[in-house]
């Protein structure tokens, strides 16, 4: 027996099976991301007054690169426009236009991920150094003449590791001083000052990674989960653009429905970013 409404809409609801399925799935996704957003907000409002790293565990400001985040937002908005244009092209029986729009969507997805990995690399090589004799400083470090890289976990440094490996000193390209809004202070030199710090003078050393501060824990959790959704969506859309497009000849209506379902998922992923960007980067 054939399963009904796999591609034709049910007359009383006007929906086909896959559309009901994707909306149920998206409802569960809203609960997942909603819980993580709530965790972020609760951690933030319960953080001590002041700004990290001057005040331990207070909420940091100005650590994320807003121009890069804005550019990534524009990339995702563009990809939503192209995915809907791909779907509309199929409705108008223009298969070649569909494929062009789909390829642009997938390229936007990989551009987003590439830019995000650049941001991740910056955080994994960015450190806070609390000395015994002064205020904490932040900046990119160099140990034994090498910068840590995020794709190599053995590159991560802690005070215990510095001591164990008998490293006498590290070099820090110290960040310019920032005010409570995260802006570089007007009297501060915008250039990074290079400072050498003896290992014996270090009280705490931690990279901008989850172990150092709850902000990084929740930032990496939400953005990495979102990134996995982008990757998954991009792979499915790439499949529809090439090998999966054979269905267009056999059953065009079912293929159009598949693109619509893929597009709904893609819009959800982009909508998560529309909320994520102001909450994590701006506020």
């Amino acid at each position: 027996m054939e399963i009904p409404y796999t591609y034709k809409a049910r007359p009383d609801t006007g929906l086909y099976n896959a559309k009901v399925g994707i909306w149920l799935f998206l409802a569960s996704e809203i609960m997942l991301f909603g819980a993580l957003f709530s965790a972020y907000i609760l951690l933030r409002v319960s953080a001590p007054v002041g700004f990290w790293p001057e005040t331990a565990l207070a909420w940091p400001r100005g650590l994320l690169n807003i121009p890069i985040g804005t550019f990534n937002t524009a990339v995702l908005i563009t990809s939503s426009v192209t995915v809907v244009m791909a779907w509309a092209s199929l409705q108008m029986n223009k298969f070649n236009h569909f494929r062009i729009y789909m390829v642009i969507t997938v390229l936007c997805a990989f551009a987003f991920l590439g830019i995000k990995s650049f941001e991740y690399n910056d955080k994994f090589s960015h450190y806070v150094v609390q000395t015994k004799s002064g205020k904490p400083v932040t900046g990119h470090i160099e140990v034994n003449g090498k910068h840590p890289r995020f794709w190599n976990f053995s590159d991560q440094w802690t005070l215990a590791r510095l001591t164990a490996e008998n490293v006498k000193e590290i070099s820090v390209a110290v960040d310019p001083e920032r005010d409570e809004h995260g802006h570089v202070k007007s009297h501060s030199n915008h250039a990074h000052e290079n400072r050498t710090i003896a290992t014996d003078d270090i009280q705490f050393l931690g990279s901008y990674t989850p172990a150092t501060h709850p902000f990084f824990a929740v930032y990496f959790l939400i953005t990495a989960l979102h990134g996995l959704h982008v990757l998954g969506g991009a792979l499915v859309l790439a499949y529809f653009a090439f090998p999966g497009a054979k269905m267009w000849k056999d059953n065009p209506q079912q293929f159009i429905n598949r693109i619509e379902v893929g597009g709904l998922f893609w819009h959800f992923v982009d909508l998560v970013w529309i909320f994520l960007f102001p909450v994590v980067y701006l506020l």
């Binding site: 802006h183 909508l271 529309i274 102001p278």
Partner: protein, 68 residues
Amino acid sequence: MSLKSFHLVFIIASVALMTFLSAWNFLNYRESQIGSDLAWAVAAGVAVVGLIIYGRFFLRKLKNISYL
């Protein structure tokens, strides 16, 4: 809800975000007097206008497709 309806919701959310981003950058500019903050505020404002124009074009182009 069809992709057409969800896309409209997405465009409305994007317009709201760009409006907020423009205001946020403009307030920063008033405090810091840094030219790049003003440039970002203007760019976000242009994005708001562009998204509204696109939204109207999208509605015209897909007027025969259902919202369901």
